[in-house]
């Protein structure tokens, strides 16, 4: 799993590549949580994440809670249909704003 950071129009775009599970989620969390500063704007680019385990979903929710607790904004972009479905069925999707791609995600967050 790899994480790349990129700032576009004051939005921090975090691109995750690889599976998010119990072995990778803690590392992702460690890297992403410090970015959840008051008023932050974050787009999580997920189109290179083929699989998320329950640990991966938990990490996402934790990030969401941190960001919304500090008046920040976060969007998820590029989720595969399968991941979206898993998140819907387990209720995780209800928390997030999701967009099909980075462009549409950035358009709302700016």
């Amino acid at each position: 799993m790899e994480i790349n950071l990129n700032v576009i129009n004051q939005v921090t775009v975090i691109t995750i590549a690889g599976n998010l599970d119990s072995s990778t989620a803690p590392k992702a969390e460690e890297k992403i949580l410090p970015l959840a500063r008051p008023g932050c704007k974050i787009a999580l680019e997920m189109s290179h994440v083929p699989y998320m385990s329950s640990a991966g979903l938990r990490m996402l929710l934790l990030i969401y809670r941190q960001i919304s607790g500090s008046d920040g904004q976060v969007v998820l972009v590029g989720l595969s249909e399968e991941l979206k479905d898993t998140m819907a069925v387990t209720g995780f999707l209800d928390f997030f704003q999701i967009y099909p791609n980075l462009e549409s995600g950035l358009a709302t967050i700016i």
Binding site: D21, S22, S23, S53, S54, A55, L57, R58, L61, R65, D85, T86, A88, V89, T90, G91, F92, F95
Partner: protein, 703 residues
């Protein structure tokens, strides 16, 4: 701050260990590792067996160091385990001496009785590998969940309308149109349907892990292997069935099920689980050893002095529920489902077994039932007993209730069925049944009585009026299984017919049944699919049929639209009228000064009931001023039953002053005029005489 004991003190091969904590039992994630804890009072040693997820052979076996054991508990912490990618079990050494009650077998790898999730049967219906050395595989879970503001839904028992359903059967039929057929997620998609019907409580048939493949019978006609479709055979008491989850293959059944509960709650629907504590899936002495038998047979099972299994469950063994250790397991389990899953209540299968002592003798004051009644975490839960067992104990009306327990009222079911069929001598008992059975529960109020006419056991409502006898050959037991006491009738043709008069009568009887159920005091329960006339082809014990016999066919919603509409309006009527939902029994007195008693009895003539043995008529009036013990105002309601084969004229009692009778239900009339939308009931043209067709129910409301 970190704890000062979260560092390894021992090692075994590559594993770092520390002494563990005995409570809680099971596997608990602790900083840096996992705390394992398992009880056995007779094992001489125990090993923790670790697998990589899904792998057939273990990756390690770690003996619990003797110095880590506390009392009869084997416990240790193992550090640096990847909790999502391992499965664990136990291997126990101990005596094999069945006469003494011991059946240890160290060749077996045993499932943790406190496992919170289970692998091995993640996807429903995929044939298992029978050679697997560890078939039911304990997994570790991170059991946090974001419930947001979810609370247990507060609905008083008398206001409940319970819908008994099977998770898979509800949406597995292709006609359901849901994305994930046969799953928790499927139910979630159908919540709007449940709301439209008007129910406010679902009772889920077993969702604890069971093995659908434990049945070795075949359908004699098709040769198809039969399953244990219902699941009244628990493999593990703490884990939700993964095979019912769309995400079971990813190990996310816990989140999916919790999300279903959360969504049901959001929609005002309570969730009751049907729980099976009377026996386990290990069966009798010939059954598989996968958990309790290999951990501590003598503790977990009721044994005869010779070491044989008592069989009060009819399923080969009997869980030793009043042994203090087993009692604690049951308590831990129920607390866990309430605290972690926000479950609102439990229906206990063959609950009378829970009142037997360790030798099988019924107890006057069973510790387990008493403890459950007073357990703080369960204080707002419904506790519902199936108040009998397969050992001959029948406790409807006498179940040790501690003012807390409700019962499946089997006498209500039988009496209403007989009355509907036109049996002689039922009027006197019907008077009790429609009042919430004060004869059975004089001290306990109406909520002791869960009223039902059909449940998963026995005929569906449509079959009750279509079959004279059971047709269970497909179950592979030569039609010997299932009850013969159905109190059913076919009205001239066994099974399906094209004769319009028979079909009309069957529909009318279905409507009569739901109408009687909805005007009876006590908590009503409906069987999934009865609202659309679901048939099981006369099979009254369809526990093994994973096919269209059991799956709800959603096209019936169109075919039997009149039945669905009738159910919907009947339920809405009950919810609109508190006079139908008293918590206390009627007194038969006018204590509100309204001029009539809370309940008054009538017949063909007002104020006069025909009590004769050959009578098939009765009527009663509920006084609106006495609703809920006189605490709320409601309309007065008049109900008349004519189960005679002839049409009869009923003279009506006067409605309260300035009121006139309006018609909600008259099942003797063709739909759509057999029922009216509650609140829009038309005026009854003749206020003094009402001609009621044969086998029909009339409900009038005064306004």
């Amino acid at each position: 701050m970190n704890r000062i004991d979260t560092y390894p003190t021992h090692s075994y091969k590559n594993f770092k260990l520390h002494s563990g904590r005995p409570y809680p039992f099971g596997a608990t994630l602790v900083p840096g590792g996992v705390n394992f804890s398992v009880f056995s009072s007779h094992a001489t040693s125990c090993k923790l067996v670790l697998f990589e997820k899904g792998q057939p052979e273990p990756m390690a076996e770690i003996p619990f160091p003797e110095e880590f054991c506390i009392g009869h508990v084997f416990t240790m912490i193992v550090f640096n385990l990847d909790y999502e990618n391992i499965e664990y079990g136990f291997r126990m050494e101990g005596p094999f001496n069945p006469k003494e009650g011991h059946r240890f077998d160290s060749s077996k790898i045993l499932l943790d009785p406190y496992a919170k999730a289970m692998g091995g049967r993640e996807v429903w219906g995929i044939p298992p590998n029978w050679e697997a050395i560890y078939p039911y595989r304990a997994r570790l879970v991170y059991d946090d969940f974001d419930w947001e503001l979810d609370q247990l839904v507060a609905i008083p028992a008398e206001d409940l309308i319970i819908y008994e359903m099977h998770v898979r059967g509800f949406t597995q039929h292709p006609s359901s149109g849901v994305k994930h057929a046969g799953t928790y997620a499927g139910i979630r998609e159908k919540i709007p349907y449940l709301k439209e019907l008007g129910i406010n409580c679902v009772e889920l048939m077993p969702i604890f892990e069971f093995d659908e493949f434990e049945n070795d019978r075949v359908n004699p006609k098709t040769g198809e292997s039969l399953l244990n479709y219902w699941g009244y055979s628990t493999v593990n008491f703490f884990a939700p069935k993964a095979g019912y989850a769309a995400t079971g293959k990813f190990g996310m059944q816990i989140d999916e099920f919790k999300n279903l509960v959360k969504e049901l709650h959001k929609n005002g629907i309570r969730v009751i689980l049907d729980v099976v504590f009377n026996h386990t899936a290990e069966g009798n002495a010939q059954g598989h050893t996968f958990c309790f038998r290999g951990i501590d047979n003598k503790t977990y099972y009721m044994l005869t002095p010779e070491g044989h299994y008592f069989n009060f469950s009819g399923c080969g063994n009997t869980l030793n529920c009043n042994n203090p250790v087993v009692r604690n397991m049951v308590l831990d389990c129920l607390r866990y489902w309430v605290a972690e899953y926000h479950i609102d209540g439990f229906r206990f299968d063959l609950a009378s077994i829970l009142g037997r002592d360790t030798k099988g003798t019924p107890l006057a004051n069973p510790p387990l039932l008493e403890t459950l009644a007073f357990e703080p975490v369960l204080a707002k839960c419904e506790l519902i007993a199936e108040a009998w067992d397969a050992g001959g104990l029948y406790q409807v009306g006498s179940f040790p209730a501690y003012g807390r327990w409700g019962e499946w009222n089997g006498k209500y079911r039988d009496c209403v069925r007989k009355f509907l069929r036109g049996d002689d001598g039922q009027v006197g008992e019907m008077v009790q049944r429609v009042q919430g059975s004060p004869d059975l529960y004089p001290q306990r109020g109406t909520t002791a009585s869960i009223n039902f006419i059909t449940c998963h056991d026995g005929f569906t409502l449509a079959d009750l009026f279509s079959y004279h006898e059971k047709h269970n050959r497909a179950n592979g037991e030569n039609n010997q299984d299932g009850t013969n006491d159905n109190f059913s009738a076919n009205y001239g043709c066994e099974g399906p017919t094209n004769a319009p008069n028979i079909t009309a009568l069957r529909h009318r009887q279905i409507k009569n049944a739901i109408a009687i159920l909805m005007v009876s005091q006590g908590a009503p329960m409906i069987l999934m699919g009865d609202e659309v006339g679901r048939t099981q082809g006369g099979n009254n014990n369809a526990y093994c049929q994973d096919n269209e016999l059991n799956w709800l066919d959603w096209s019936l919603l169109k075919t039997n639209a009149d039945i669905f509409r009738f159910f919907k309006y009947c339920i809405a009527f009950r919810k609109a009228h508190p006079v139908l939902r008293s918590r206390t029994h009627f007194r038969g007195q006018d204590y509100m000064g309204s001029g009539t008693a809370d309940i008054t009895w009538h017949g063909l003539k007002p104020w006069s009931t025909d009590w004769a043995n050959g009578s098939h008529t009765m009527a009663f009036m509920l006084c609106g001023k006495h609703a809920k013990g006189g605490t709320v105002k409601d309309n007065s309601i008049y109900v008349a039953f004519n189960m005679h084969r002839e049409n009869l004229t009923f003279n009506l009692p006067q409605p309260p002053k300035d009121n006139r009778w309006h018609v909600l239900v008259n099942t003797g009339v063709n739909p759509p005029e057999d029922i009216w939308e509650p609140g829009h009931e038309p005026l009854l043209p003749n206020q003094s005489n009402l001609w009621i067709g044969s086998r029909a129910v009339v409900i009038l409301v005064a306004k």
